[in-house]
Each structure stands twice: as structure tokens, then as C-alpha cells.
């Protein structure tokens, strides 16, 4: 499949110069680009790499002198990272999911599947499930009873969605994501050692013989529009109120969202992050990879947590935090500075001690 420079520039809403009808087949790194490739050289630092490759067409930074780079045609963008979204989506090959329900799929009674759906081999769709138009559902996906999913969903193989889950439009879930597992919620007949530990910050803990009794998840999961869930991530059901994921929120692979968690809109939750039960996240919260949020903690809108942050207490909106326990990023670096300087400080104190001892006549 070949595309003209004009087609691509139009799709990007970008200006193009040179031969608008020049044809290319695929995007490429500048240094590896062949004559039929579109080199992605959107920053001046890629200029030399462009010369190493064979590209005749490229996406360049605003104001680049395309002719001196020896190109036949060029497209200009002002924000490279954003342009990448358009460029990659233009060339992305959609998954092979032809419209129709595979004969091996099992569809429960009273399930309503709107027009344009593709349902892959060995899917099991429960009773009363409602799925909006143009669903693309890969093989071996299970959707339990009474769950509802909006229009244009894309569920890759192995996705498991529990019962009574409500999901908005344009939902995407990658391989083996799990939505609507039971919450991890247990209680002891008498006050537990954990409650003591928490109340006294570990000072007075009375250990007792105790067994854990399950608190059932009576509610389910409610997910807004344009939400994307990564491979092997899981979202638990709520206890009496549903766990909620706000519109536009994206989860990376292997994230765990506990029961009763509420996230706002457009949050970004990176790989291997865990959000414990009943935590509340505002809008546009970004949790770096491997972060953790303790249970019942509230994060205001626009909080950003650096990778591997462990958030143990509430964080006001707009704060950038980092570390264990997570504190303001500049404070964390200050703390780290102190820790790194500690060995030298200890040596210095020992020297001073020695000097004082000598001064005071070895008393």
C-alpha cells in the first residue's frame, strides 16, 4: 500500500512542500529509511541521521530547509510527539476482526449485540449483556451476565469482563485484562492486629487468633468513555458503590485498581502501578510506573507521581511527588541529597570529635 505526501499531510493537518504526489509506503527512522519510506526527522538533531539514510521524503521540524537535506518532498510539524499520534494512527494496521459472530462463540439468552460486531472464536457472552455498535471482540473473550458496553469497543483476546459492569463508548482492553473481579476485602470478628498497627503506627499491636471473613462485592465497575486498559491489568468491583474509572483515563499493563477506587477524567496510570481500595484520584492524575497508592487516600487533580512513588497520605491537587514515602519532588531530591552526603558527614563528625578530644586534653 502506497500513500502520497498530500494524503499524509492532509491526515496530519500539516503543511507539505515539494512533490505532493510522491509516494511512500511506511514510516521509518531517518538513518534506516529507504527510498520508499517516510523518514520521521521531526527535530533538528535528526538532520545528520537523515543524510545516512536513503529517504526522499520526511516529516521535518517547522521551518526546516528540506531542499538542502536533499529531499523530494517534506511535511512540517510543530509538535513532534503529537504528530506521532497522527502519523502512527495513519499507518496502524487494524486487528483482523471481520464482522460476524464466530460459530464457536456462545451468546447467552437476551444478550443484545448491535450491528457491525465482530465476535471471535470461543467467546462466551453472558445473559442480558448489551454491546453497542461496531464492537470488535477477539477470540476467547468472556463477558459475564448483565454487563453493558458502549459503541466501538475493541477487546483483544483473553479479556475477561465480570457481571454488571457498565462501560462507555470507544473502550479498548488489551490481552487478558480483567474488569470486575471481586474486591480484596476481608474482616475479622474482633478488632484485628492490622487495625491496632494502623491506629498506633505500629506501637501497640495485640495479636489474636483470627480468621478472615469475606466482605462481598455487591456493586460492580463503571467505566466512562475513551478508556483504555492495558494487558493483564485488573479492576476490582466495588463493595456497595461501584469502582469508577473516569472518561479518557488510560491504564498501562499490569496495573491493579482495588475495590471502590474512583479515578477522575484523563488520568494516566503507568505499568505495574497499584491503587489500593477506596483511593480517590482527581482528574489528570499521572502515576509513574511501579507507583503505589495506599487505600483510602485522596489525590487531588493534576497530581503527578514520579516512577516508583509510594503514596501513603493525601496529596493536594497540582503537586508533583516522588519517593517512599512520596513527598514533593524537590523535597525528595533534598532528602536524597542528605542521605548521599551522610557517610561524609559521619566522617567529618568523627574528625571533629577527635579534634575536640585533643583540645580538651584527652579527658
Amino acid at each position: 500500500m502506497a500513500y502520497t505526501i498530500r494524503e499524509i499531510a492532509d491526515a496530519l493537518g500539516a503543511e507539505a512542500s515539494g512533490d505532493q504526489e510522491f509516494q511512500i509506503r511506511r514510516p521509518s527512522e531517518p538513518s534506516r529509511a529507504g527510498a520508499e519510506d517516510l523518514a520521521l526527522a521531526m527535530d533538528p538533531s535528526y538532520g545528520p541521521a537523515l543524510a545516512q539514510g536513503q529517504a526522499r521524503a520526511a516529516v521535518l521540524w517547522d521551518g526546516a530547509d528540506w531542499q538542502s537535506l536533499g529531499l523530494t518532498a517534506a511535511i512540517f510539524v510543530s509538535r513532534p510527539r503529537f504528530a506521532m499520534s497522527h502519523i502512527t494512527n495513519f499507518f496502524a494496521v487494524p486487528p483482523d476482526m471481520p464482522v460476524g459472530i464466530h460459530p464457536t462463540a456462545i451468546i447467552g439468552p437476551d444478550a443484545e449485540i448491535a450491528e457491525g460486531a465482530s465476535i471471535g472464536a470461543y467467546c462466551v457472552i453472558g445473559a442480558g449483556v448489551r454491546i453497542g455498535p461496531n464492537a470488535r471482540i477477539g477470540s476467547q473473550v468472556t463477558i459475564a451476565e448483565q454487563t453493558s458496553i458502549g459503541a466501538d469497543c475493541l477487546l483483544y483476546s483473553g479479556v475477561r469482563i465480570g457481571s454488571f459492569v457498565t462501560i462507555g463508548d470507544r473502550f479498548a482492553a488489551h490481552f487478558n485484562a480483567v474488569i470486575g473481579s471481586d474486591g480484596f476485602s476481608y474482616v475479622t470478628p474482633e478488632k484485628s492486629a492490622v487495625e491496632d498497627a494502623r491506629a498506633t503506627l505500629g506501637k501497640a499491636v495485640e495479636f489474636r487468633d483470627q480468621t478472615w471473613h469475606r466482605i462481598a462485592s455487591v456493586a460492580s465497575v463503571v467505566i466512562g468513555d475513551d478508556v483504555e486498559i492495558g494487558a493483564n491489568s485488573s479492576i476490582d468491583k466495588g463493595t456497595v458503590a461501584s469502582t469508577r474509572i473516569g472518561s479518557g483515563t488510560k491504564l498501562d499493563n499490569q496495573c491493579q485498581i482495588g475495590h471502590n477506587v474512583v479515578t477522575g477524567r484523563d488520568c494516566l496510570i503507568c505499568g505495574h502501578t497499584g491503587v489500593a481500595g477506596s483511593a480517590v484520584l482527581g482528574d489528570r492524575v499521572v502515576l509513574g510506573g511501579q507507583s503505589g497508592v495506599a487505600d483510602h487516600v485522596t489525590l487531588g487533580s493534576d497530581v503527578i507521581a514520579g516512577g516508583a512513588s509510594a503514596i501513603l497520605s493525601n496529596v493536594p491537587g497540582g503537586r508533583v511527588v516522588m519517593g517512599y514515602p512520596a513527598v514533593k519532588m524537590d523535597q525528595n531530591i533534598e532528602n536524597y541529597k542528605m542521605v548521599r552526603r551522610l557517610p561524609r558527614l559521619v566522617r567529618k563528625v568523627a574528625e571533629l570529635e577527635e579534634a575536640v578530644k585533643n583540645l580538651s586534653g584527652k579527658s
Binding site: 531530591i333 548521599r340 552526603r341 561524609r344
Partner: protein, 88 residues
């Protein structure tokens, strides 16, 4: 003294940037060497430890060592701190 301070500083920065010391230009900003703010903090710690000095730094402003300063300016600052230490 100064040549060895310079060589040590440049080799420690190069190590953090995965470059050869000869590739560390004095007019380069840390960012141009591929050193983001946290990598620069790490580089400064290794320099502190090598010379047993404390380098004031602030990632926000041009006070002390910072990402807004080029390598030459950082080097001058470190040479001054090592010099002060030698006088004591």
C-alpha cells in the same frame, strides 16, 4: 591540580551520559549530552564523592550547579570548591 580535577569531572559526567570523556564539550548543556535533571543530580553526587566536597545545586534556578548551566561553568564551580578545600 586543575588538570586532574578537570579529567575526573569530565570522566564522571561522561560515565553518567554513556559518552567518551572526549565527547563532553564545555559549552554543552547537560540536556545536550542526554542528561536529564535526575541524571545530572546523580552525576553531581559522584563528583561530590570523588572530591569530598558539597556542591550547592538547585534544579530550578541557575544557583549553584544546575541544568541551566553548561559543563564549563559547572567545571569552574567544582574547581573553585576543590581549591577552597585544599586551602583549609
Amino acid at each position: 591540580m586543575s588538570a586532574s580535577v578537570r579529567n575526573t569531572v569530565l570522566s564522571l559526567i561522561a560515565e553518567q551520559a554513556f559518552l567518551d570523556p572526549s565527547e563532553i564539550r564545555l559549552d554543552a548543556l547537560p540536556e545536550e549530552l542526554g542528561l536529564d535533571s535526575l541524571s545530572m543530580v546523580e552525576a553531581i553526587f559522584t563528583i561530590e564523592e570523588a572530591f569530598d566536597i558539597s556542591i550547592p545545586f538547585d534544579t530550578q534556578t541557575a544557583e549553584g550547579a544546575s541544568n541551566q548551566k553548561n559543563i564549563g561553568a559547572l567545571l569552574a564551580q567544582i574547581e573553585a570548591l576543590v581549591g577552597e578545600k585544599a586551602e583549609i
